[in-house]
Amino acid sequence: MKETRTAMIQRGILAVLGAALLLTLVLPQLPRREKKAAPLPISVLMRESDTTAWSSARLGMEEAAGALGVELRFLTPTTANNGAEQNQLARREAENGAKALVIIPAEPESLGREMAGWGSHCPVVSVESALEGSVLSVTPDNAQVGRAAAEELLADWTGGAVLLLETGGRGSGVSQRLEAARVRLSQAGVPCIQRRADAARLNESLSGLLRETEARWVMTFGPLATAQAAAGKETSGWTQPLYGAGVTMRVATALERGTVTAAVAWSDYAAGYLAVQGAAQAARGQEPAKEAVPFLVVRGDEIYAPENEKLLFPVTY
């Protein structure tokens, strides 16, 4: 009896020591056993065929892709702001195995309706515009951007009508900015003239619009529209002050030259990074953080302020 008890105690001690030994041997191996995750395929759908205006955003997206193990696939429509084509592209990518989509919507409303009919669940992150059905919208508060641009104009306004150029699809961030600016200007008693225009062709079409409307102030609400308007101003020689939203390198040059009086700026790099990060998180079943992209208003003489430099000009090697 005593012998059995002794043997049992000894076996118990050996079992405990053996189990502890195995545990200490296995524990360090666990992190190494974590398989390196395969790259997460995420498709990025631009809304313009000319993506130079989005180069900073693209840099941010690629940085996030490298850091988070994401494989990006950039897709552009054949024509700018072609909502139908973008909707088709989005559906195809969702059905062809993209784990998530990052979309700069051309027509957010129709895309939202299209997404509702998708058979598969593919998380979508929108950039620039809020999008119904998306898990995250990486955009500055578009209404505030519009109001800020309007405030900047109001600070300089000396009279005359303001031409508001609508270059985005219905429900897009561009439209929201425009609407907010229009409301603010109207509140201030500023006459507003709203015209739809193709952002990519503004360099050619804007002088005609100005002649037609006799507007004394011009406002654009997207980076491409602002850059093209500035280009048109430099080539056509019209003198109306130009206010924009979104700062690309061309817009920065225009600001520096005084072609653009003021522009609302935010970091496209940060927006691109946050969009891909949010898409990757959603694809991996995590809840992406929802936070509006901060923005500021810059005038030509302010662009080289140290903090503005960092925001506006990406570091490239």
Binding site: K2, E3, R5, T6, I9, Q10, I13, L14, L17, G18, A20, L21, T24, L25, L27, P28, L59, G60, E63, M249, R250, A252, T253, E256, R257, S267, Y269, A270, Y273, L274, P294, G300, D301, Y304, P306, E309, K310, L311, L312, F313, P314, V315, T316, Y317
Partner: protein, 605 residues
């Protein structure tokens, strides 16, 4: 607390008293071994952690030294460009001439990987020459820049600016490049007039990044470069930081002296190593997250713990085996003693184990052997004592019988019956000769029967032939041996109890025959007989020994003697009924001559 300790100590003591020696040995050895290894392990772990920390610092320091050396080489190469530009292209030449512009273009082309632009400005900040060929932006005022002012103020030095976007020249591709400007004061000769100016070399970030980029510190550490005010010049996540997506403790790092520091930044403990880059005032900062170090240390500690546990496991296993090896002989000895206590005979006491245990086993074995011998001696002595006692009792018969016989001989002689007297004396002599039988206990059966016959001859004469006797030997019993004086007491009993009332018709028969391995002698009389319970009581050991003529003591002695000598399965059996006579069966082992001789030898001391 004291009471608790006392109670605990009492419990341990009580537990100890119930534990086997093997358990005590194994647990004690294991506890001591494990404690020793733990102490060793902890001290080694502490030593390892300190050494790892030191190695990490040294590693970071070495890496930073190497980066510093590379960066210094790079900056010197930029300074050489500036020197070349000044001494070989600009100095003593009119910068407005084409040869200067050509030289600058050539120099730029040679170094375009590391240089964004090179330019010469006059004292007012006016552009004298630049490469690549470019026009100054309308909004650019070089004389308002720090690099220009520093060069004009401290003429003998090179001046490195902080990182900034190059914004002097028009760029048809709308590029805005981050640069670090190297400026110096120069003397320009234009139209034969010498005047002060500033020579500017804008270094690209790419060259600096190339020096720092591929540098990795241990455990996921990284290196970044700041200027004297803490502004980032290079950081592996520079754009992230600029975009507000990441942060760095660069402002605090600018205040650190060269060496290794520990800081806590955004909830993370970090080891920060700082190295100042000579003449620039820049600082290289190496950052190693302590969490990563801790992870590695944890892995090493786990490995160390595994080694300790393996050693403990091995030691425990060996301890258990060794303690079992030591204690097994003790346990077996204890088991043997328990068996002895339980009364088991022929217990094998093994003499195994180490010296002390073997000695103890040997002593116990000797003691048990001695005990057995003593017990056997006692039993033998007891048996002999009993036998002697019975022999004495047996010899008690003789005086009465002798007295009566001799009295009869006297009476017959006096009566002139000389033949009968002679016959009686002859039978008596023969009786005694057989009774003595040279002191032998076992005698031939025929002698025993002859002895009975002589006894009956004497008694028939004494009792005036009131009874007759027949003594027969079955051929199967011929040559057998039996215990001496077994038949005569039965005959005596038959005569005194059975023949008392006989009137010349008494008959006593003795018949000896072999039944298997037994010799059966049957004595039958046709006397008075007795009740069966009386017959059974004749052999009752509790019946008092009242010595009367033919009282049955002789019968009981015969029964005892037979059982003492041959075992309880032998002895006498009485069959009697009143007025029917009595039959006594004497059962003995059938001893041949050899068996008799063997018994005789055992009797010989």
């Amino acid at each position: 607390m004291g009471a608790l300790l006392t109670r605990l100590s009492g419990k341990i003591r009580a537990w100890y008293q119930t534990m086997s020696i093997q358990l005590v040995l194994s647990l004690s050895f294991t506890a001591v071994a494990v404690a020793g290894m733990l102490i060793l392990g902890v001290s080694l772990s502490v030593h390892f952690a300190n050494t790892a920390d030191d190695l990490m610092q040294e590693s970071s320091q070495r890496v930073l030294d190497q980066v510093n050396w590379n960066l210094d080489s790079y900056l010197r190469s930029i300074m050489r460009i500036s020197d070349t530009l000044y001494y070989r292209v600009v100095k003593d030449a009119d910068p407005t001439k084409a040869s200067v512009a050509q030289g600058m273009e050539l120099l730029y082309e040679e170094n375009r990987d590391s240089v964004v632009s090179i330019a010469v400005f006059d004292r007012q900040g006016g552009l004298v020459a630049a490469a690549p060929a470019a026009t100054l932006k309308g909004s650019a005022f070089p004389s308002q820049h720090d690099w220009f002012r520093m060069a004009m103020e401290k003429m003998e030095n090179f001046h490195f600016s902080g990182p900034h976007v190059q914004r002097l020249f028009e760029d048809p591709d709308y590029r805005y490049r981050w640069v670090v400007s190297l400026s110096r004061h120069v003397q320009l000769t234009r139209n034969g007039v010498t005047e002060p100016g500033v020579l500017l070399v804008d270094m690209s970030f790419a060259g600096i990044a190339q020096v720092c980029r591929d540098t990795e510190l241990t455990n996921g550490g990284y290196v970044y470069l700041i200027d004297s005010s803490g502004e980032l010049i290079y950081h592996p996540r520079q754009q992230m930081i600029y975009a507000g997506l990441d942060t760095e403790n660069n402002r605090a790092a600018a205040r650190y002296s060269d060496g290794t520091h520990r800081e806590r930044f955004q909830g993370e403990d970090r080891q920060v190593t700082v190295k100042t880059v000579g003449y620039t005032g820049w600082k290289l900062v190496g950052v190693v997250p302590r969490e990563a170090m801790t992870t590695d240390t944890r892995q090493m500690l786990l490995f160390g713990l595994a080694l300790i546990l393996f050693s403990a496991f091995l030691l425990a296993f060996l301890n258990f085996r060794i303690s079992a090896h030591i204690s097994d002989p003790i346990r077996r000895l204890e088991q043997s003693i328990k068996e002895l206590e339980a009364g088991r005979e022929n217990v094998d006491i093994e003499e195994g184990g180490c010296y002390e245990i073997r000695h103890l086993s040997h002593s116990i074995r000797s003691m048990v052997s001695t005990l057995h011998h003593l017990m056997e001696d006692i039993i033998e002595q007891e048996r002999q004592k009993r036998s002697t006692e019975l022999e004495v009792l047996q010899s008690q018969i003789n005086p009465h019988f002798l007295y009566n016989t001799l009295d009869s001989v006297i009476w017959m002689t006096e009566a002139g019956r000389y033949d009968e007297a002679i016959q009686m004396v002859t039978s008596l002599a023969r009786l005694f000769r057989i009774a003595l039988s040279k002191g032998k206990r076992i005698i031939p059966l025929k002698d025993e029967l002859e002895h009975a016959r002589h006894y009956m001859t004497i008694q028939q004469i004494r009792f005036k032939n009131k009874f007759t006797s027949q003594i027969t030997l079955d051929p199967s019993a011929e040559g057998l041996y039996c215990l001496k004086l077994t038949v005569q007491p039965i005959l005596e009993n038959a005569i005194y109890h059975g023949m008392a009332a006989a009137e010349d018709d008494g008959l006593i028969t003795v018949h000896a025959a072999r039944e298997g391995d037994d010799l059966v002698i049957t004595v039958t009389d046709n006397g008075l007989g007795m009740r069966p319970e009386v017959a059974a009581a004749l052999l009752d050991e509790n019946r008092p020994d009242v010595r009367t003529s033919g009282s049955g003591i002789g019968v009981r002695n015969v029964h005892r003697r037979i059982q003492i000598n041959f075992g309880s399965q032998y002895g006498l059996t009485f069959f009697s009924e009143p007025d029917e006579g009595t039959r006594v069966v004497i059962r003995l082992p059938a001893l041949d001559e050899a068996a008799a001789a063997q018994l005789q030898r055992e009797d010989t001391p």
